[in-house]
Amino acid sequence: MKYLLIILLFLAPSVAQAHFLERDGTIGAVLHIEPGDAPVAGQSATLFFDLKDTKGKFQLANCQCQIILSSDGRVVSQQPLTDNAATPYVSYTFPAAGIYQVELSGFPYVAGDFSKFDLKWQTRVERGITTSSSNKGGFLLWTLLGAIFVAIVGYVAWSRYEPRKPRSRH
């Protein structure tokens, strides 16, 4: 069991610098990336920013905030971060596998609202996989795990209840 877990862990892909708090002055943000904090090249990824100002002055609607995505010092995308959800986000399809830098910078429309900030993360983008094969793999894993569960429950139930009857006669 222990070895199985270790093998599973070593196979599990885990790639993004997600859940990383970056701070600049009084403003901090945690980055999350869908799908699964592990973006894949060629598939749409959504980057979420949990923003918080310890002074409580920051409001995204008052900020000229922008997201710059770059790879090897080359900007691949530049887009504004708007007040589009409770956790603001931008969508982007990473063109190729590799390590990308995510930069969130902002300054207020009205000077003095909050101090300007610049936050940087890294994320590794995996090479693309086809959806059909991942679905097939997912179903196979479910079947295997379901069979293990049924086998254990069945075996335990059988071994617990069946041997009792002869014992109770003594």
């Binding site: 799908p35 530049q78 887009q79 063109p95």
Partner: protein
């Protein structure tokens, strides 16, 4: 030494050491040193701590349910060392996640309540695990007596808290549909709950003579099967609900849907691509541009042109812009006959875009500006400028008979997959391909260099009405300055500012082979 080697607890601790070394080796070989490593280490040590905790929790109920299983003595003896390993691995996870990723205690004020709750759960669990680890030695077992067992029963509380922590924050536990780790964890947890429920049933039977043949264990099985079936159903929600990523999954799906339906396109145009950065922003924002030029403009004389952009809703001048193809503003100038073309980039001076240029002959000129105010989508406006005496000239270019023309040292051919149709062009279903050859040798040109972050820029202007399109290659990745391309460049026109109308169009395509920028012009018909 011999006794140590025969002690199973020593082996478990050695195994833990090997696992830790393995994690460092794996992470070190996968990503360069830096924050990404910290994230990977935090994730791996967190999962390992959960795995070891699971094993130490499984031992008792498993042997109670299946007393005939072998190695009961060794496994039970090893359990204390497994518990100690949980503490070691949890400390590694704490170091990388709390102090590495979240910046330690000074980072807490920046986190929202969901994080703080998840951290409180894991912090409490860590205190329990630490108490258990510090009393895992024979001396403490003897010293604490009956209190030792009571203290160590707190492991169940720690287990529940850590499951909550993982469900709230763990990237691997957000989506049962896609994450193999979540699937394995779901079934392992189900097995543990089933075995624990059996123990409860047994206790009820022993203490209260309640025959629980279909007791808690049956309830657990029913729950697991029910939940599994829900997640497996095609319309079932795969998200575990309480995880902070659950809302993200929904939003990401909505974002994907809105991206494909934006502007009513159902074609294969990828609006998330970097080339369409100009389309990301507030689509409702409107701008007015005040254009100023001298009252009298003479042909061939320098003339200063200025554009000032105002937010139409507030009236304030716009001072912040995003770059579009490496420039804050693109100004295209053509004459009324559509045989003069200029693509220049005014400077931002004192709140206005200003440029000095000279226009070659008398007549009416059409000016087009493209710019992207910060936070809005790319904007496009047109103006006219009279130079000298304006006559009654009109575009009189007829569609080209030949699709191959020579421009200085280069021969350029234009191909389209089918006769161009306005309805097809409007939704990005047709492309225009230019092939560039050396005019003297006929050799294909393969040293096209990027000009303004693209291997070509194409301006299309309709003779009737002077409709304007600024088009870029369909290869959406912004090339590096050192990248080369050629001999073909394919452009993908789109009706971003309204449908493309049929008519005769003048094309002005800019290419930059070996640093020799030139403009290729064609006249085509769009049905």
């Amino acid at each position: 030494m011999h006794a140590l080697l025969r002690n199973v607890r020593f082996h478990v601790l050695c195994l833990t050491g090997l696992v830790i070394a393995g994690v460092y080796l794996r992470v070190g070989s996968e990503v360069p040193e830096g924050p990404l490593q910290v994230s990977l280490l935090a994730q791996d040590f967190g999962l390992l701590a959960l795995g070891f905790l699971y094993i130490s929790l499984l031992v008792s109920p498993l042997y109670e349910a299946l007393p005939t299983l072998p190695w009961r003595g060794i496994v039970t003896k090893a359990r204390r060392a497994t518990g100690f390993s949980v503490f070691i691995l949890a400390c590694f996870h704490l170091a990388y996640s709390f102090f590495g990723e979240l910046g330690g205690f000074s980072g807490l004020p920046f986190l929202d309540n969901r994080y703080l709750f998840a951290i409180t759960c894991s912090g409490t669990a860590l205190v329990i695990v630490a108490m258990m680890a510090s009393t895992s030695f024979d001396y403490m077992v003897r010293r604490l007596g009956k209190w030792w067992k009571r203290l160590h029963r707190l492991v169940y509380a720690a287990g529940v808290l850590l499951v909550l922590h993982a469900l709230l924050l763990g990237s691997d536990f957000a989506d049962l549909a896609t994450s193999p780790v979540a699937k394995v964890a779901f079934v392992l947890l189900a097995i543990l709950l089933f075995l624990e429920a059996l123990r409860v049933d047994k206790l009820l039977e022993r203490k209260y003579q309640v025959v629980a043949r279909f007791g808690f264990s049956a309830v657990v099985v029913a729950l697991v099967v029910g939940l599994g079936a829900q997640y497996l159903a095609p319309e079932g929600s795969a998200s575990l609900g309480i995880n902070i990523h659950s809302a993200h999954i929904q939003l990401a799906q909505q974002a994907q849907q809105s991206a494909t339906s934006a502007f009513g396109f159902s074609s294969n145009v990828n609006l998330n691509s970097p080339a369409y950065a100009g389309l990301r922003g507030d689509k409702t924002k409107r701008y007015t541009v005040s254009f100023s030029a001298p009252a009298v403009v003479k042909a061939g004389q320098p003339v200063q042109l200025a554009f000032k952009v105002y937010d139409a809703s507030s009236g304030y001048a716009v001072s912040s812009y995003s770059k579009v193809y490496s420039q804050y503003v693109h100004l295209v100038i053509v004459n009324e006959k559509l045989d003069y073309f200029s693509h220049i980039h005014p400077d931002f001076v004192n709140g206005s875009f200003v440029v000095t240029t000279a226009l070659p002959a008398d007549g009416l000129y059409h000016l087009y500006v493209n710019y992207q105010p910060f936070g809005a989508i790319e904007q496009q406006q047109a103006f006219t400028l009279a130079v000298g005496t304006v006559g009654s000239e009109a575009p009189a270019q007829k569609p080209d008979n030949t699709q191959t023309k020579t421009f200085g040292d280069y021969k350029v051919s234009l191909q389209t997959s089918a006769p161009l149709k306005a309805s097809e062009l409007s939704v990005g279903s047709q492309t225009l391909t230019f092939t560039i050859q050396d005019a003297a040798t006929g050799k294909a040109v393969t040293d096209l260099r990027p000009y303004l972050e693209a291997f070509g820029h194409l301006v299309m202007i309709r003779e009737d009405g002077f409709d304007y399109l600024h088009v870029h290659p369909n290869n959406l990745t912004i090339p590096a300055a050192s990248d080369l391309s050629g001999p073909t460049v394919t452009f993908l026109p789109l009706g971003l500012y309204g449908p493309i109308h049929p008519g005769t169009y003048r094309l002005f395509a800019e290419f930059n082979p070996a640093g020799h920028l030139f403009v290729a012009d064609f006249t085509i018909n769009v049905q």
